[in-house]
């Protein structure tokens, strides 16, 4: 075991760990490694002592209670949680609404194309061609319009809820 091995072994030892016997033998013969080991022990001892004086201030809990009491007067937590739940509900409804609108518009578009194909082959042929690019654009546009309308309604509801809570 050379000095590098011994020092690596020492760095990996946590305070209280017992060094390998070969390391102990090396330390007994090598003054430089022994000094390094002593420096490590000194680092452990002094850092432990220094950090032992760092602790939470004694009045921490009292100051926290006072701060929470002040914040509760301005906006009670229960009320805040209720508003947050209300907003969460609106967002969930908006997501569901968007999904339903997409499905309805897609199904309606497909039904319209099918009906047109059956009733008027020429119009149906145009719709069949349009079902590539123009169809996708049309579908996207309709979905977006429906989503915006839904979002408008949902945000209006959320806003009215907030105003009601604030008032």
């Amino acid at each position: 075991m050379n000095c590098t091995d011994v020092r690596n072994h020492l760095h990996g030892l946590l305070p209280g760990d017992v060094p390998d016997p070969a390391v102990a033998l090396h330390l007994a013969r090598c003054a430089e490694c022994r000094a390094h080991g002593d420096a490590l022990a000194l680092v452990d001892a002094r850092l432990g002592a220094m950090h032992a004086t760092l602790d939470v201030p004694a009045d921490f809990a009292a100051r926290l209670s006072a701060r929470i009491a002040r914040e509760e007067q301005v906006r009670p937590r229960v009320e805040r949680a209720a508003v947050e739940r209300e907003l969460d509900g609106w967002l969930a409804r908006l997501r569901r609404q968007t999904l339903v609108e997409t499905v309805v518009v897609a199904a309606g578009g497909a039904a319209l194309a099918g009906a047109a194909w059956a009733l008027a082959p020429e119009t149906g042929a145009w719709l069949a061609r349009a079902s590539t690019l123009e169809g996708l654009l049309l579908l996207g546009g309709l979905t977006m319009a429906a989503t915006l309308a839904g979002a408008w309604v949902a945000m209006g509801g959320a806003w009215r809820t907030l105003l009601a809570r604030a008032g």
Binding site: R7, H11, G12, L14, P15, G16, A35, H36, A39, L40, L42, V43, D44, R46, L47, G48, A49, M50, H51, A52, T53, L54, D55, V56, P57, F60, A61, R63, L64, R67, I68, E71, R77, V78, R80, A81, E84
Partner: protein
Amino acid sequence: MDESILAALRSGREAEAFDLLVTGYRRRVYALAYSIVRDRQGAEDVAQDVFVKLWRALPRYDGRAQLSTWIYAITRNTSISALRGRRPEVSLEDPDVLAAAEAAGAAAAGDGGRRDAAELDRTLARLVAGLPDRQRQVVTLYYLEERSCEDVAAMLAMPVNTVKTHLHRARAKLAAELGPAMAKEAAA
């Protein structure tokens, strides 16, 4: 401890759950905040902010994430936000650590060795302050948290082996620099 907090929460005793949470986690939250913001007042401010956030969020805690993981994540984010807000003012030589070093050195040494011990601790505090961020955080938490690599790993959200690697490198560096630094100060 977490089981008692969760039991109180499930039975609707939120105030009791919060008291248990503050009692059980205040030291760890403070220590984690301290390891990041590096001064006592800043750590206390962060710890207060963290517990206020927990107070607000507790009714919505559903138990899916482990309580300690949730609390440590909030603490890390709050500490980093606090640090970003005042980074230019942070000194590499934290006056609180230096004061603690003075106090610890004085307590450890008799009158004859008092000055030497204080200088040693001051040098060590300066060396710790100069470590890379992750190493410094690991070293600080390791000695604050009763030398448990597992606790430090949970607080910093890193594997235990990574904590040991940071600790290994930091201790090697501190030990290697402590001797020459002391010799230089003694010669000055």
